[in-house]
Symmetry: C2
Subunit: 328 residues, 2 copies
């Protein structure tokens, strides 16, 4: 895949997804002495970048005369809403298989996009049911990240950003299954080859970092304990891993810093920001600490969907009392 595939994706999804704004905080820039640009995918349809990959996949099926009779997906999170939205947006029936423990608000949102929702008691049963459904004739299963058209769709967020911003020194994005990072890498290498592309993962869910260290795909041994729920994926995919290997750097972030930056970016940007992306800010700060000249950095705010329990945990103690210039 290359830049042309991203451009094609961008054209395909036009009118179905939003061109989201790029935010800045003059206070943060003043404190850090660098320029940080935030691509605000929390304002994307369904509240996360995932709408891009899902819409591109459905549009690509349509473009190639392969419109399925039904689309299916399995997810407890943003991918469920993204596929529901994309299928509905292109007028194709859709069934989403979700575990019962998914938050009510996400189940409701998925239904409100016109999807049939099938709840199962465990994740394993959910995964089994989607496989059965996908085996039926005319049904197409959209996976969350390990799919070329999903990757190209996700890459359009950074593509849009880099067509508006010149001389970006580095792009930071979080790593769950690696779809966003893979697409971001393809877009950046094509548009701005000198720009570094850097991945970020919670230390408590560092299967991608482990995989990169060992040179082969590693799987988490148990569901990880992290507030960055968009990065809880147990393993990356074979397609995404090939792109992750080409990253310029990779950071693993402790929970304390994830919480700190979720509070601060919420406060500075006045946005609802998922912990999954806020952790990138700590990676940016560490990376900037190694630089001798003023840098221009792009960070992807991957989404803004967060339930009450996570919000409560994020705001348990007051990190706003500790300014970024004093925080170690």
């Amino acid at each position: 895949m290359n830049l042309h595939d991203i451009v094609k994706a961008r054209n395909r999804i036009e009118g179905h997804v939003r061109e989201t704004p790029i935010l800045t905080s003059s206070l943060l820039n003043q404190w850090l002495g660098h320029e940080i640009f935030f691509k605000a995918e929390n304002f994307q349809k369904i509240g996360a970048f995932k709408a891009r990959g899902a819409c591109n996949t459905v549009a690509w099926l349509k473009e190639n005369g392969k419109v399925p009779s039904r689309i299916v997906a399995n997810s407890s999170g943003n991918h469920a809403q993204a596929v529901a939205y994309a299928a509905h947006s292109f007028g194709i029936p859709v069934t989403i298989f979700m575990p019962e423990y998914s938050s009510k608000v996400k189940i409701q949102a998925t239904k409100s996009y016109g999807a049939e929702v099938v709840l199962s008691s465990t994740r394993d049963i959910t995964d089994q049911k989607v496989q059965e459904a996908a085996a039926e004739k005319g049904v197409y299963w959209i996976p969350p990240f390990n799919h070329e058209q999903v990757i190209c769709g996700q890459g359009t967020a950074v593509y849009e950003s880099l067509t508006h911003l010149d001389n970006i020194d580095a792009v930071f994005a979080p790593c769950g299954g690696g779809g966003l990072l893979s697409g971001s890498l393809i877009a950046t290498r094509g548009l701005s080859p000198k720009t570094k592309v850097i991945g970020v993962e919670p230390l408590n869910a560092n299967d991608a970092a482990e995989s990169l260290r060992k040179g082969s795909i590693q799987r988490l041994s148990a569901p990880p304990d992290t507030l960055a729920d968009g990065a809880m994926t147990m393993t990356v995919g074979d397609i995404t891993f090939e792109y992750l290997k080409q990253l310029d750097d990779f950071y693993e972030i402790e929970e304390k810093y994830i919480i700190y930056w979720t509070q601060w970016l919420t406060h500075l940007l006045k946005c609802r920001i998922e912990p999954t992306c806020a952790m990138s800010m700590e990676a940016i700060k560490r990376w900037l600490g190694t630089m001798e000249s003023k840098q221009r950095v792009l960070m992807v705010i991957s989404g803004g969907n967060m339930d009450q329990a996570t919000t409560q945990k994020i705001w348990e103690r007051d990190w706003l009392e500790v300014l970024p210039i004093h925080f170690e």
Copy 2:
């Protein structure tokens, strides 16, 4: 004051404040069966509409050849930051008097806009000190709401909105000291005379509602217990009260609903939203319940500044489990 004063204010503050976006939630509109537009002043400079009134007052002084040697103000909240920002933006020295109990993050922000900050142990001492400072030659004191140029500045938020949106049936804004509502009323009567202008106040801080009922300005007997900290003002002003009397309706909202809508608007709009403005959504819902046809409503999101303690209280229980269509 009339529409011309608002237009003059709008021209004066151009380049010093942002033209903020107007947000919508298709899910919320679908649930309510009406169209709600949100003017997002949380994305305004300093995170609240207050930047408008402060900038207009400073620009008006300059326009009239009355540039002070120093600007002063007293506040523990958004007005402190607004005056600091406005004075700095026009290159005028500024001192802000704040009580020591103000949140560190607000004190820091006020300083970062270039203001000298003088902390005092109580609000009374703070108020006394600003009076002393204002008595000095060449010093100008910008009050938080009871001032014509402050009111005209605040009115530019609704003015901007109504130049972009046709056929708005009603405008809702929160009532603290009445500056935002007074300016909103002037702008709306001038641009769209048939549009209703409706005020909203926490039931626990209902001095304005009491004043309107009794026909004379009433003062709260003690600092009120409400999460809507922007509406904790003890009394409205003599200038603003004359405008408040012209409002088409006025709602008093219980804390439970303030919390509910802060959670839901944060979730739906992916924004940091102060409880002070979120309460307007309950008033809108109640007002819409009395309407027989589809309405188009404008709500001013007055700001997005909230400390950790308030955030924690807002997210104590899970209101996202109760959809707006089921909430009474």
